[in-house]
């Protein structure tokens, strides 16, 4: 079963489309990385799913029920754009209000639990407006965990976090997903961080879903290659192109897409009088995969 499913979902602002005919499928128990450029429609989609925007067209279903279903909505943890709290109330008061909103049975205990999860019990008595950006983000993540959610929708949750903050959030999310089967829809520009946890990806461009792919399938699509740096890259490139079919210059080195022959690369270059300063096995990462997908899409659009 899909935790989130949309059919032909569209949203326009004054006839300008923000999301068009979107068919999203977020499998139950997955961590779904939702990626796209700025203004591509990620936040709009998430707001639509949360019922904060009125769709122009289309249908949204959560766990195979209409998205207005009260029971499901009360098990939804959300952080969209930034934590929405009363600036003059304390962190604790704000979280208590959200816990009450969710009808949590023992709100005080739950607030303490989630603040401990993100290492922020010490700021509970601080006014929300006095918290740093990083703290606010972590508070937002903590807030989304109130009431043991079944589905988390997180929009850029690691924005503004330091390395330690990112690690805490990442570990918390993975824990929730693995231990309690919480489904997570997460959008982020920090693709390296996202690739550490996502089990599925959805790529959106100009309000249209370009590709939906499980991380395992993406991994197969992402080819392995040998990366070499030499004392004379142009010469090395020329020599390697004579021997291997797929050789590409890349940044300050060269990529050879031929695993079987990779062991011979170093020897081959040495025989040609080229000194190797670095050689390693690598794999196309999420960022590159994403950029390739976007480039392909742009070309498809350009060619009509």
């Amino acid at each position: 079963m899909n935790a989130i499913e949309t059919h032909g979902l569209s949203k326009s602002y004054r006839k300008i489309p923000a999301v068009q005919n979107l068919d999203l499928h977020v499998p139950e128990g997955s961590i779904y990385g939702f990626i796209g450029e700025n203004g591509s429609g990620k936040s709009t989609t998430e707001k639509l799913i949360c019922g904060l925007l009125v769709p122009t067209e289309g249908e949204i279903r959560l766990y195979d029920k209409p998205y207005t279903d009260t029971e499901i909505r009360s098990r939804l943890g959300v952080l969209i754009e930034n934590p929405a709290y009363f600036p003059n109330s304390t962190v604790y008061q704000n979280m208590m209000m959200q816990a009450m909103n969710l009808d949590v049975k023992k709100p005080h205990n739950d607030v303490r639990r989630v603040l401990e999860l993100v290492n922020l019990t010490s700021v509970a008595g601080r006014k929300f407006k006095e918290c740093s950006l990083g703290m606010k983000q972590r508070i937002g993540v903590a807030q989304s965990l109130l009431g043991n959610p079944r589905l988390l929708i997180l929009d850029e949750p690691i924005n503004g976090l330091d390395a330690d903050g990112m690690r805490i959030v990442r570990e918390t999310l993975v824990d929730l997903n693995r231990k309690y089967g919480v489904t997570i829809l997460i959008s982020s520009h920090i693709l390296g961080e996202l690739s550490k946890i996502a089990t599925h990806y959805g790529i959106i461009r100009q309000g249209t879903l370009v590709r939906e792919v499980p991380a395992s399938a993406m991994s197969e699509e992402c080819r392995n290659f040998v990366f070499v740096k030499t004392n004379n890259n142009p010469r090395a490139l020329q020599a390697l192109r004579g021997k291997y079919a797929q050789v590409e210059p890349n940044a300050d080195g060269i990529r050879i897409y031929n695993e079987e022959e990779s062991a011979n690369v170093s020897g081959f270059l040495f025989e040609n009088g080229i000194a190797v300063s670095e050689i390693s096995f690598q794999k196309v990462g999420l960022e590159e995969y994403y950029l390739q997908t976007m480039t392909e899409r742009k070309e498809v659009n350009k060619n009509g």
Binding site: C50, L53, V78, I80, F86, S89, Q98
Partner: protein, 253 residues
Amino acid sequence: MVKRVRSLLSLDFYRLLRTPIFYFMLLVSAAVPTLILLSGNFENAWEVVSQTASPFAASGGGYASISMIFIFAGILLSFFISHDFKSGFVKNIFTVHAKKQDYAVSKTVIGVFSSACMIVMYLIGTVVTGLITGKSFEVSIIGLLCCVLSKLALSVGFSALFTMINVFFRRQFGFGIAGAFVFGTGMLVMTAAAGLAGTAMEPLLQIFLYGSAVTANLSANVLDVFTSLVCSLAWAGVYTGVSNFILKHRDIA
């Protein structure tokens, strides 16, 4: 629905009781009858609660009545609702509460509760100042009771009205406050009354909230309480319906 609204109510009450402006409005509610009694030429302390007749077209001390708490409740609700939208907390609310009418109902209940507290403070202010200044307290107890109960009943309609205005204007609480003054002082009804006073049409003004509020004076009886309640609930239904419509058809954030 009760369960849904209950969770929203617990949140709203938690917040209300930690909102300084709520306590400020309570103080204002107690201070107003004090100031009126001290500045006006009243022999009977209860005259600041209401008149014994029903002057639709207010003149002089016509406004000096407990009906002013409707304005205070309107101002309080304007701050309360606009801050929901300004802070963005409204996103948390509507993510959980898919049924938009819950929001309007909860805010109306908050308005009624605040109005009830303000009525009590207004009465306390009246009694204390009356005692200090040695005013007379002669009054028909039933009339006073019916008057206060009518105002309480009408606070349902007024709270729903102010909720609707603020749901429409959202962050712009200035409009909400202006609405509190326009409707809380019964400006529209007063204007209509100027043309209808003394005619056979005058009783029709009672179908409006402020019309009922004016009629519910110190000589009110059980029928007036009933009339106020029916009028209030009917308008509350209309205003809550409109609030729900606005919330359902407009983007929240």
